[in-house]
Symmetry: C2
Subunit: 764 residues, 2 copies
């Protein structure tokens, strides 16, 4: 792994601190200091403007634009793609004194400090602006997004003239004129704007997808005079503030952002008339109250979600940053929202969501916020129709879930990925299965999962093939999780997940027919599911071919993989990374090198299906062939290394899991945070060092303690209770918040979690 | 094969005759009535204008334009492509009488007939134009391209007012304003034009590639008055002709087209000043003399190239059409010219040349026009540098020949083909080997072939891989000739051709070092060829893995092919063809279906390496899996079926070989002729029914006679002699033009061809 840490922020258990501003970190910091509340996200931009490298980014979950692609003469290629749009900058600010406008890229300043308080969800920044003429103004910025009412955000600016008295001009407004980074275009038409004594509003419509964003702001400030300036796609209020030496002027802006996706014409009219109501709502809000509510929201959240690491300040800070980002990105407030690959912190990967959602993010929510987990799965239910459309395009029956999507439609323009990767579909089924296994929420599966399971199984039964004598079923022409094997037959992961998906479908069908024969009849009818089809599901699951070498216990990644030429990855010169940029495209695909876990991913997801000996053989075979070019790869290896008591390796692979973005390991944090890797960091601690396994009948744990740590503690939401684990060099202390008497396994032995704390000696 | 004949033209042994004009055949006829002389080509457009479906096409060999492609973030993808441009319409004509302009799409006409005289190379057309007012004018058109001086073309129009006397206006000129079909753009800037009493000139430059075409025309006509009209990119002379009832007016236009590719600035000035000289040249030419010269050229050509089929008028006409097209497209006049997939008859496949040149076209030239064969190979020598550049881009050493090209640079934008198909490179080596095997022209190989062989072998030694214990060498991640297996390992054809290429390289190196040690040292030095490298060539050739099943004698098309799901191609509904349009792209790649011969292609090229039993097993295994979606496929199967005495199958696959375009089998003849299929039709008769094999030490024959025929005869240029074969229901008569005593094999027995005709009973 050709990566190295670049430690820039101060270490603190609860805060990300930037002391002194370095321009080369401007964009990385914009990502790191992003705020989000699932509904919207705003990058840590300097609201007062900054003329250096910057991506002023403001995003709404599910607000997207579309682009037509060159039409392919081949069938199954997409001809349209969708991507998140950069919307209005509702924090737009400029500060002027003596004809100078503050700009940290060009002006003089001192005592710069920026702090993201993870405990409270508040971002603050302050510095002293030194004007050309020697005048000094202390500027303090505070902002947060309401976690209670997701449409609300708030900003406070405190201006203190330190060595003079005189006017300071403050501009504050709404700017829809931002450029979408990838296309270099602005994506908004302005449908109208209003202004009154203390507030302004602007309504923007996306250019081609006909979605709307209405931004309204209310200002609170003591000013001598104000006036409005309306430019193209921008509405700004100019405040003249009478500065008095040593006295602070407080400027407050409360923002309400309304969005409508897939809005109908008549609704749009209503939407416009809401301006008035909007103002009313804004007037009812108090900055202090909003701030307290948000701090309280985070307080409650941390109480039940925190991970403590003792003796390792870097990872302590890192893991809290990760947990903070997970809650910011998604907490299940809305069923239609998604987790983009960069959350709401940038435009890379087009704001699309991937199978990472079910494979990497869902466990976090299952064990921290069950409702959020359910809503994530419901997104797939809501987009079943699109997946069925996509299956048709690909000459399949049933539902083929997209590799990359915002609305449920496939957005990945690389056919190799979009047409050959079945893991989005099987991950959806896995997600439902995993959710049910933990929550036992059978009703949800019957109502939301079963339709999906039937249609995904149907797809699997049409996409695969029988071998010539019908003794083996398998998938041909697929790309498994390891994207360095582009188009292979009988990929072990794909076949295994296919088998598990169909088996789970059959199990749910059977249970439903027992428990609710009427409901069962209805759904069978709705999906025109014939008895022969169910029979074929049984056949396929039974005869699914899983390439496996009996002598060695090694699963073959795909048919023929063992015959591929070997590449000694340690001999690849470091300057050839990332390989996609330095090796010709097809060369990457012609050997036994892996980009990311494939067989090992299967062995993590269905861990209890395999013996430890099998895991050991496969780990020791595949890990040395893997270059971990995917940011998700190291955590999976770390978790399995822990299971195999390979402590050093486990800790090595954990290495940058929690701090990938804080330390800009991949040199691309400036484009946005690696949100799904952040989820893997959580898994890395709970599944890795905590040794949790959630695929068996009982939740099981096998904690170990990295020798670099004094101890660690984590919490798990489980069946209405919260289980608390505290591991130190001697003991594992396990307690339950509600004491519901939940049974778990620790090191393979059963324990009941009642009122009393359980104390088990740790196996180091 | 979902194809059917659509017989539209009259059957005639030497002519293509269109009696009566049907609009739906307009574009097909434009292709069929194309004229070409290697240097330039002109479609059979109605020169007087036609407002219906039409592609007015005039092409020069090697005059191309370029387009930038979207830059890929992956390495090895091309970012620029080159394509043939539609140049000036130098036949531009309009005919007007009483304010009506003739246009066969809209006007009334009768007695229409168009004839392409294959024996003479002359295209004529005539009809009676009936004006709205009842006036009738007989119009007769004649045109030809000079086969003696390729820059010259000539046109004659005879106008006869049948039932009136009065003015007829004739416009004749040069039109650079044509649209390139694929891009929808005109590709020409006009650099200047001149006109004098009886001639006009216009110089056009391609927009981005800075190539030039200078068109000059001289007119001969009795006219009352004339004037010039210059419009954008068009210069036209208007002639007022005094028509007299029953009297014919003859209008003659002699055209000289000069082109300069890759022209330098200073040369360009000279080029412009050539206008004057151009006029001089034009004045020295006589229509009648040009016509005679061309007819004589064709007379000589037919003497030594004709194929006679007795008792089958359709195929007699068809095969002569094919031979005519081969000579039109290419006869080795220039070393830098190529054979585009559509010759010079259309813009499909961008005018690019493919590996079809060496695999399908070269045999025709080797046995009809040795110099042309040599020039075809020299094109690869002239573009070795580009192939070496391409190899570098693909992380290979040596030379990687392009899949599709005009200038030697890769033009194929589908990476699956451009990066994975090695058969362009091995076909070049095969071409040199085949040429040497027949001509014994060792000098040419030493001078032009060896450099290529070294660099192609080098590429093969870097592109392939050893297996883990270094017992097998092979190519991974390739697409063999069968394009329905997109990316496979150890494709039998690719490995075998790789082995043969390296073996041939080693043989040439050895012979050269014996015969010319100094020259050998020089070339070794020039290519920095080390002894270890030669050693590695030996190793690779020796250990090349050829997938083969001993029990059945079947070569496996690639590693794992035998395990692919089976598709019963007879059960694919006819409306699903062509599959590329009806099946999702990846679905085509997931089974054992073949698009075209792969293992069988190998067995044709190196026929004597395999036993008849092997051929039989492989033919019977692979043919039923092949859908023949490539137009080159049926002839290969027909040739091998003949060898296996499968007469009915041989004749079935021969079915449309000679008439693919005349009968518009693929429904796309309108886009241009299938030039390389035309070459395969010649092979189909000579290698198929004639049973010729040219890969052994002696040229061998095993003639058979399809029961549908009375007899057939063909000629072979061989070692300075011309061998004549005449096969009827009883005998094979073989004679030699020069009686040089050449030894051949017939049915495996040796014969010496002296002055006397040999008579051998035919084996039916």
């Amino acid at each position: 792994m050709a990566k190295s840490a670049d430690i820039y922020y101060k270490i603190h258990p609860w805060k990300i601190i930037e002391e002194g501003f370095r321009k080369e970190y401007a964009m990385v910091s914009e990502s790191v200091f992003s705020l989000g509340n699932e509904y919207m996200g705003t990058r840590g931009n300097f609201e007062e403007g900054y003329s250096g490298d910057s991506l002023t980014g403001n995003y709404f979950n599910g607000i997207y634009e579309a682009a037509d692609l060159e039409k392919s003469s081949y069938k199954g290629m997409i001809d349209k793609t969708e991507f998140i749009v950069n919307s209005a900058n509702w924090l737009y600010t400029r500060i002027q004194a003596d004809n100078e406008i503050v700009d940290l890229y060009t002006c003089k300043f001192k005592d710069y400090v920026r702090i993201l308080d993870l405990k409270k969800g508040i971002l603050t920044r302050s510095y002293i602006w030194v004007l050309e003429n020697g005048k000094e103004i202390k500027l303090e910025f505070e902002r947060f997004l309401s976690m209670k009412d997701a449409e609300i955000a708030a900003q406070k600016i405190t201006l203190t003239p330190l060595n003079f008295s005189g006017d300071i001009i403050l501009y504050s407004g709404i700017d829809f004129g931002l450029i979408h980074h990838m296309t270099g275009k602005n994506m908004w038409n302005i449908a109208g704007s209003t202004a009154d004594n203390d507030s302004i509003s602007m309504l923007g419509d996306t250019i081609s997808t006909d979605q709307s964003v209405l931004v309204s702001c209310r200002f609170q400030v003591d000013c001598r005079e104000w006036s409005d300036i309306e430019e193209e796609k921008k509405l700004v209020r100019r405040f003249v503030l009478s500065g008095e030496q040593g006295k602070s002027i407080e400027f407050i802006k409360i923002i309400r952002n309304l969005t409508r996706k897939d809005i109908k014409e008549e609704e749009k009219e209503n939407f416009k008339t809401k301006w008035g109501k909007n103002q009313e709502v804004l007037h009812s809000l108090s900055y202090q109250k909003l701030r307290e509510d948000t701090i309280n929201w985070w307080k409650r959240t941390w109480q039940d979600s925190d991970i403590v690491i003792e003796g390792d300040g870097l990872n302590q800070q890192g893991i809290r940053f990760c947990i903070f980002q997970m809650h910011q990105t998604y907490h299940g407030a809305d069923k239609g929202t998604i987790i983009g690959a960069k959350g709401l912190t940038g435009e890379a990967y087009s704001g699309n969501t991937f199978w990472d959602t079910e494979a990497y993010c869902l466990p976090f929510y299952i064990f921290n916020n069950t409702e959020a987990a359910r809503h994530l799965l419901e997104f797939r239910y809501l987009t079943l129709e699109e997946a069925m459309e996509r299956a048709k395009t690909l000459d399949c029956k049933g539902a083929f879930y997209p590799i990359a999507t915002i609305t449920g439609r496939e957005c990945c323009s690389l056919w190799q990925h979009a047409s050959l990767q079945l893991q989005a579909s099987t991950a959806v089924a896995y997600g439902f299965w995993h959710y049910e296994n933990i929550t036992e929420d059978e009703e949800f599966i019957f109502e939301n999962g079963l339709s999906i399971l039937i249609e995904v199984s149907r797809m699997l039964a049409s996409r695969g093939d029988w071998n010539k004598d019908r003794t083996r079923y398998g998938f041909y022409g697929v790309m498994g999780p390891d994207e360095f094997q582009m188009m292979v037959n009988n990929n072990c992961y794909t076949n295994y997940l296919g088998k598990k998906t169909i088996e789970y479908t059959l199990s749910v069908l059977k249970r439903y027919s027992n428990k609710n024969p009427d409901g069962y009849e209805k759904i069978i009818k709705k999906h025109c599911l014939l008895a022969e089809e169910i029979e074929e599901f049984h056949n396929i699951a039974k005869h699914m071919y899983i390439p496996y070498q009996e002598e060695t216990g090694i699963f073959e990644q795909h048919e023929g993989y063992f015959n591929l030429p070997h590449v000694d990855i340690d001999k690849i010169p470091i300057e050839e990374f990332p390989l996609y940029h330095h090796w010709t495209y097809d060369r990457i695909y012609r050997n036994d090198m892996l980009k990311q876990p494939d067989v090992l991913m299967m062995m993590l997801l269905y861990n209890s299906d395999f013996t430890k000996e099998q895991l050991k053989s496969n780990y020791e075979y595949y890990e040395p062939r893997c270059i971990h070019e995917s940011s998700l790869s190291p955590s999976v290896h770390s978790i399995l290394a822990s299971q195999l008591q390979k402590e050093e390796e486990a800790y090595k692979f954990f290495g940058f899991a929690t701090r990938m973005d804080l330390d800009n390991y991949n040199r691309n944090t400036g484009e946005g945070l690696h949100t799904t890797s952040i989820a893997a960091a959580w898994m890395n601690i709970v599944y890795g060092f905590g040794g949790m396994r959630s695929d068996g009948k009982l939740l099981s744990f096998a904690p170990s303690l990295p020798k670099e740590w004094e101890g660690y503690a984590f919490k798990i939401h489980f069946k209405g209770d919260i289980l608390r684990f505290k591991v130190d060099k001697e003991n594992i202390k396990i307690s339950s918040k509600a004491g519901l008497g939940i049974q778990i396994l620790v090191y393979g032995k059963p324990y009941i979690l009642g009122q009393d704390e359980i104390n088990i000696p740790v196996i180091l």
